[in-house]
């Protein structure tokens, strides 16, 4: 394979830099001995200490992680099916259904789902948040899968069918492995969207099921204190560890 050229590498490095400069600010200020988040004063662990004596914040972080994982898994499965269906039979109504929630302003999703949950008498809590997140994550997964599928060689599938493979077998043995990078890219987006969502969660969260973004928004008024930087840093690390561990447990599912 052709080796990436120098200009390409340079451009990529610059994009990584763009992605990481704000992150560096977040991490550095989580160790800053001033609650102002304005200039460097001195090194301290105290925001991490404070964080660990704040059960509500930790509970919220746990809620966020669980909800994001569940939403990513569920939308991964549904979105994968939707992506294949979109590709196989190009129905306008289906793509409107899948892309609709992506196109709809999130505040409308939040309010309309709240009304729907009330209508169907679905109690508000972690479950309702997951259901809400999945509804707009499906589209993201489906699009990633569809982009992966277009132009894919269908002759493999036909060959498998000719050889007597059942649809399930040909799906499991041929389609799915080929699609996995798309599914994983989609699930990563779903996880990211879910863990960061504020608006939809605000409306669909029940009493006491606050997620981290809700907690953090509540602290905004007295400016984001470094404690919030600390919890963000930890959340990032925890997610990283979790993903790494998961990829060890089920090697096929994460390695393309």
């Amino acid at each position: 394979m052709a080796r990436p050229r120098k200009t390409l590498l340079l451009a990529s490095a610059l994009v990584y830099l763009f992605l990481y400069i704000p992150l560096a600010v977040v991490v550095v200020f989580s160790f800053n001995d001033s609650r102002l988040n304005a200039e460097w004063v001195g090194f301290t662990w105290k925001w991490y200490d404070q964080l660990f004596s704040n059960p509500q914040m930790l509970q919220a972080a746990r809620n966020s992680l669980i909800i994001a994982l569940a939403a990513a898994l569920l939308s991964g499965v549904l979105g994968c099916l939707a992506g294949i269906a979109l590709h196989r039979f190009r129905q306008k109504w289906l793509s409107a259904l899948v892309l609709g929630p992506v196109a709809m302003p999130d505040i409308l999703i939040g309010v309309s789902l709240l009304l729907t949950f009330m209508l169907f008498n679905i109690g508000l809590g972690s479950i309702s948040i997951i259901l809400a997140h999945v509804s707009f994550c499906i589209g993201f997964v489906a699009l990633a899968v569809q982009a992966r599928m277009s132009g894919m060689d269908d002759s493999l599938l036909e060959a498998a069918r000719d050889l007597g493979a059942s649809p399930w077998q040909s799906f499991r043995l041929i389609t799915l492995p080929l699609l996995l990078p798309g599914v994983i890219a989609g699930m990563m987006m779903a996880f990211t969207l879910s863990i960061d969502d504020f608006v939809v969660t605000f409306f669909t969260a029940g009493v006491g099921s606050a997620t981290l973004p809700l907690e953090i928004y509540s602290m905004v008024k007295i400016a984001v204190t470094p404690e919030v930087n600390a919890v963000s840093t930890l959340l990032m690390l925890l997610t990283l560890v979790l993903i790494t561990v998961l990829s060890r447990f089920s090697p096929q599912s994460l390695r393309s």
């Binding site: 102002l36 309010v111 508000l124 029940g206 009493v207 509540s218 007295i222 400016a223």
Partner: protein, 352 residues
Amino acid sequence: MKKFLCCVVLGLSQTVLADKALNLFNWNDYIADETVARFESECGCKVVQDYFSATEEMMAKLLAGNGDYDIVIPTQNAVEALVKQGFLTPLDKSKLSNIGNMAAGFMNKSYDPGNTYSLPYAFTTTLIGYNETKMAELGLEPGDWSIIFDPKVLSKIKGKVTVMDDSEELFAAALKYLGYSANDSDEKHLKEAQAVILKAKPYWAAFNSSSYIKELTVGNIWVAHGYSSDMFQARSDAAEAGRSFTVNFVIPKQGAVLALDNMVIPRKARSPELAHQFINFMMRPENAAELSNIVGTGNPNAAAKPFIEEEILAISAIFPSEQQLNSLETLDARNAKSRRVMSRLWTELKVK
């Protein structure tokens, strides 16, 4: 993978099975951690707080039917709306032995005659926070609404001013500047207020209700329109961080908005018993005093006065004098029509 799914299920069921808990729907940073901890040990329960940063945010959530909180802390006009919607449960006064501690001037108000549904919690004013050092340097007088509305004054501090991103509050300030009542619903007067805002807008850095405390403390902004308790925070933050300037706040001489926040119990509350216990607890003088000492609010609890630090009692923007009280107004609940007029004017001025 199975292991992982188990974890998810376990985690979810744990969140569902909470202990005995008081669910409190409160403003951001509107109760001291110390107070919460003391109540928790006293009742043997957990206090679970959800927060809102605007009346409208809270109303949006409650009115959609999502309201099984035990205690909500709405402002007076929201109490009126919630009562009319039949959202609240009447208070059982026999469980509220500390009710006599409250100052008579804050009781039996028109939004809830006889305090059937609500008891006062704390009050704040919406005023001007400013960088004292800069104002002195520039020779500006911040104790007048002209500091945020008069282009002549503003030209000296262009791009260093923020106003609240809140139609009710900003219109109230502009109406006060023009000499009208903050509750004026005459469309002509509201249009005049809009014109004042539009003229001043090019000089403002932003409509900002969320980060003005920080901007003031850091020094990016010199004048901010916001709540007294937030300005109190900014002032102590700046002092604590040893900034090269000081932050202060003042009620403009034309008068301002006073917000009286109240404790209410929704009809659908899960544990009304605990809710009554909390209200009674908050009316105890030493607990009520912490609202002033730590959060920086005005205090409707007369018995709490001896427990409030001298220095805070002396701040007239937190504890207004008799004379200032006369110039302060609480906002009424606007009816749907007046709200629509205002919303249109607000949208227009934001977009223009």
